[in-house]
Symmetry: C2
Subunit: 191 residues, 2 copies
């Protein structure tokens, strides 16, 4: 999606170690015109995929998931980070490793939010190592629902998450696919 790529070039900040900061328009301050356009693009990609619900994880996936849910006309579920393993039997739970904070989170979804008859589109702002999305796929799997696909705003193609899911036959769409970033800030997109 050219609009997003151009915005990343203009306003993204590359930090050493493959870190891309897009807080000025994507995941801290959100440009809602861009948000609506990204949601329309995701809705267009998945309009014939039979999606019944969108699943994301708090916090930075919620805005794009909510916008895409409005565009597709389906409900949005967001998985919640949980402090303890001490949860009721009424939830699905998985563990997600955060590379940013180098720790494990327990992540939960109430069982009555996902149904075996659902076809789930998983959405997040970023796909890099794939840790968060692997956890969301696990939650869908526990519920017996089907994964329609994974849609993200930005994929860092030089990290292994996206290719790991594609190798498993999961559809993965990224609105901007970053092939490489150099420490001095040059970004190359996969065409």
């Amino acid at each position: 999606m050219r609009q997003l790529e151009e915005r990343i070039i203009t306003d993204g900040k590359v930090l050493p170690g493959g870190v891309l900061k897009v807080g000025s328009f994507l995941n801290h301050c959100i440009d809602t015109k861009l948000l609506g356009d990204m949601a329309a693009e995701i809705a267009s990609l998945y309009k014939d995929a039979g999606v019944t619900k969108i699943l994301t994880i708090e916090a930075s996936g919620i805005a794009i998931a909510a916008a895409a849910g409005m565009a597709l006309g389906v409900p949005v579920v967001f998985a919640k980070k949980h402090r303890t393993t001490n949860v009721e039997g009424s939830v699905y739970m998985t563990i997600i490793h955060s590379f940013t904070h180098n720790e494990d989170y327990h992540v939960i979804v109430q069982r009555d939010c996902l149904d075996a008859s659902d076809k789930i589109l998983i959405i997040d702002d970023f796909l890099a190592n794939g840790s968060a999305l692997r956890g969301l796929i696990d939650l869908v799997s526990q519920s017996g629902a089907e994964v329609a696909g994974v849609a993200v705003c930005v994929e860092k193609c030089f990290q292994p998450g996206g290719d790991e899911f594609r190798a498993k036959g999961i559809r993965v769409d990224a609105l901007a696919s970053i092939e490489s970033m150099t420490d001095d800030g040059r970004i190359t997109f996969r065409s």
Copy 2:
């Protein structure tokens, strides 16, 4: 907003101690048709208020803030919960007490997300004690921006937050205003 009140009656769950669970349609699984209608209502209430940005706090305020931001055509900033007081000078920080978890959070917004010339609409899903919103008002105040108002999906009028802000001259709008709830599940709305 009658649609939201009816939905709270139908699908909300009252737990002892004044707790209202609306996770099946508002803040865990989100009905995106209702979300769009609530956002349109907030946009209608604030269309002439000169709002330049919306401010909310992760996680459950993000969906309604993003939807309202799209409806009003303004950017959305979400304040982030932070682990430590050890932050750079590039942020505004405040402390918010969570009555749910009985602990204090440090909450931050990057300084370049809020500007002294901004007129900020603060949005959240719930207003009860007002702790989260008091923190957001503090962040706006630190930036020198003006608070245009506070809009929430649900106000528990039997808790003191909303009236405290109104007494200070802050505009407060709730799409559903709960006057009282009984432990056996009867809900009365303020007309």
